[in-house]
């Protein structure tokens, strides 16, 4: 995948905490996010060709034009959506103030972790750089050039050495995880070290006495709590011992303590899990899908409810302080959600998922 170069444009000089210009621009961009009727229109299209034609009338036209020379299938649309998302992130980061950049980069730091993990996985199994690079999403602090530098290394230790030389914040976690991996032979140790690093690093970056930081820190805590809840659900289903499950617990949340995590792991059924989570903010979201779970007893149902809960919280930031960091974050999450929904519709067209089922799969339309 070639790095998408943001168009150079003359931007006004924005102060480190000046939200006036960026947020005004973002509100304008937000108005161009697809509405429910637009999604309904896309769902109703006859096939892939018609869907592409409809998408060519939206903001995705320029990204689609770049890939449609390779074909007019779902893979090309998916590629265009990925390019669009990367381009939008670069564009938004181009006009944000320093504080918003700092906060957004912290929340998007999970993509840096994701990209490093992907490179390490590829290197572990000896895949070529070209094969790995198509699976990267350079929307965090590590840009395409940084990722290309890591990709150029020949093996896992080379990637870790390069990260250390560049003094990437993930480097200490990588070294610790790699040391453990050499002892146990289990590569999950490296991935877990990165996940733990992200939770701790993001928490410390947002621990400032400032309303913007405090607001986003709460959301980060909710995100970590959701991850821990889903991990506990999985551990409970797989009858993992509490000791083993605790290895996967991420610190930094504020709703799921280690003891509550233990209760969830020990729960014998969905009723027990919901009962244990009654005092948490996700209770209502989970209770809402309990009947769906009864029909289809899969953790996917609960995870989806928790993801929707979190996305709703992020998108709701648009109605917070109009001169705060909520506006850029709400826009970025709204954009990610839009891309996911278009991808769902595209895939549904490709494999012939019924319209009603497609509507059900869409997220927060």
């Amino acid at each position: 995948m070639s790095p998408v170069i943001a168009q150079k444009e003359k931007l006004p000089i924005v102060g480190p905490r000046d939200y006036g210009y960026p947020n005004a621009r973002l509100r304008g961009m937000r108005s161009r996010l697809l509405k429910a009727e637009a999604f309904e229109h896309l769902i109703a299209t006859g096939g892939m060709h018609q869907l592409i034609q409809e998408l060519m009338r939206t903001e995705y036209a320029s990204d689609l034009e770049e890939v449609l020379i390779h074909g007019r299938g779902a893979a090309e649309v998916s590629d265009a959506l990925q390019r669009h998302l990367i381009r939008i992130h670069e564009k938004v980061f181009g006009f944000l103030n320093q504080e918003a950049k700092d906060i957004c980069a912290t929340m998007l730091g999970r993509w840096d972790v994701f990209n490093i993990k992907t490179i390490l996985r590829g290197k572990l199994y000896g895949l070529g750089s070209a094969e790995i690079s198509g699976n990267l999403m350079p929307v965090g602090a590590l840009g395409s050039v940084d990722l290309a530098g890591l990709l150029a290394q020949s093996d896992v230790s080379g990637v870790i050495d390069t990260a250390s030389t560049w003094e990437l914040p993930q480097a200490p976690a990588l070294r610790d995880g790699y040391e453990k991996y050499q002892a146990t032979g289990n590569f999950v140790d490296v991935e877990l070290a990165l996940d733990r690093y992200y939770a701790g690093w993001a928490g410390s970056r947002l621990a400032r006495r400032n309303s913007n930081y405090a607001m986003i820190r709460k959301l980060l805590c909710a995100q970590i709590d959701i991850l821990n809840t889903v991990t506990a659900f999985r551990a409970s289903r797989d009858r993992l011992s509490l000791e083993a499950a605790k290895e996967y617990f991420l610190s930094g949340g504020d709703g799921i303590s280690v003891s509550l995590f233990g209760q969830l792991v020990a729960a014998s059924d969905a009723g027990g899990l919901l009962e244990a989570l009654r005092s948490t903010p996700f209770s209502a979201a989970l209770e809402g899908v309990a009947s769906q779970y009864a029909e289809d007893p899969s953790i996917v149902v609960f995870e989806r409810a928790l993801e929707d809960y979190f996305t709703r919280k992020m998108v709701a930031l648009s109605s917070t302080d109009s001169l705060g960091v909520g506006i850029p974050l709400a826009y970025l999450w709204g954009k990610q959600n839009e891309v996911t929904n278009i991808r769902i519709i595209t895939k549904a067209k490709e494999v012939g998922i019924p319209l009603e089922r497609t509507r059900r799969e869409l997220i927060l339309v």
Partner: protein, 215 residues
């Protein structure tokens, strides 16, 4: 007809061969019936597994489509990079009604748990997980299916072979032997009649000679 010596010994041998062929034919018919019964019971299992395989493939494809759509191809492919693994199967053999059939048994089950799939669960959605699990189930069913389908194929081949043998005995060997027996019997009868005629002639000549001497 092959060259047949029309002797009494040959006739006895051919009659013995007919008895042997009929006994063999009866045994082969019994074997064929037994193989058919075994074939039908294996067939039931094969159909059941085939349906199960089809259902598992449809489920897996659907969950892959959902994971691809919701999590995106990037997340899906990244997870796939981490889950390299191998499937071990053990190949042995057994005999059903004297027919050698290979037995395919699973080594380690290809179905892994979320925590042993090779990636950290904190970074992978349950949709991707479920998709991986369903494809592992396909592998599991495919191994079972390979075992039963090979058994069915071998039994089918053996039934065909036995059928051909029965037909060959019934339609070719036994009629040919019967024809040979008829030919030998006819030739021996003819020889007996010739001998009788010759003896009568000799007797007549002797009697005629005796009459002349008496006169």
């Amino acid at each position: 007809m092959e060259e047949v010596r029309p002797t009494r010994a040959e006739l006895l041998e051919r009659k013995q061969q007919i008895t042997l062929a009929q006994q063999g034919m009866d045994l082969l018919k019994q074997k064929r019936d037994a193989l058919l019964m075994e074939f039908m019971s294996v067939m039931d299992g094969t159909l059941r597994l085939s349906e199960q395989l089809q259902r598992t493939v449809v489920d897996a494809q659907y969950s892959l489509a959902v994971a691809h759509a919701v999590d995106g191809p990037v997340a899906l492919r990244s997870a796939a990079l981490a889950t390299k693994g191998e499937v071990t199967v053990e190949m042995t053999g057994t005999k059903i009604m004297g027919v050698s059939v290979p037995v395919v048994t699973k080594g380690e089950s290809p179905i892994r748990t979320t925590f042993t799939r090779g990636y950290s669960v904190t970074g992978i959605s349950t949709r991707v997980d479920e998709s991986a699990e369903r494809f592992e189930k396909i592998l599991d069913v495919i191994i079972e299916y390979a075992d039963i389908e090979t058994r069915l194929k071998r039994l089918g081949e053996e039934i065909n072979k036995t059928n051909r043998r029965v037909n060959a005995l019934e339609q070719v060997t036994v009629p040919a032997l019967r024809e040979q027996v008829a030919y030998i019997s006819q030739t021996l009868d003819e020889r007996a009649r010739e001998d009788l005629f010759r003896l009568k002639k000799v007797k007549k000549k002797i009697e005629a000679k005796k009459k002349v001497q008496a006169v």
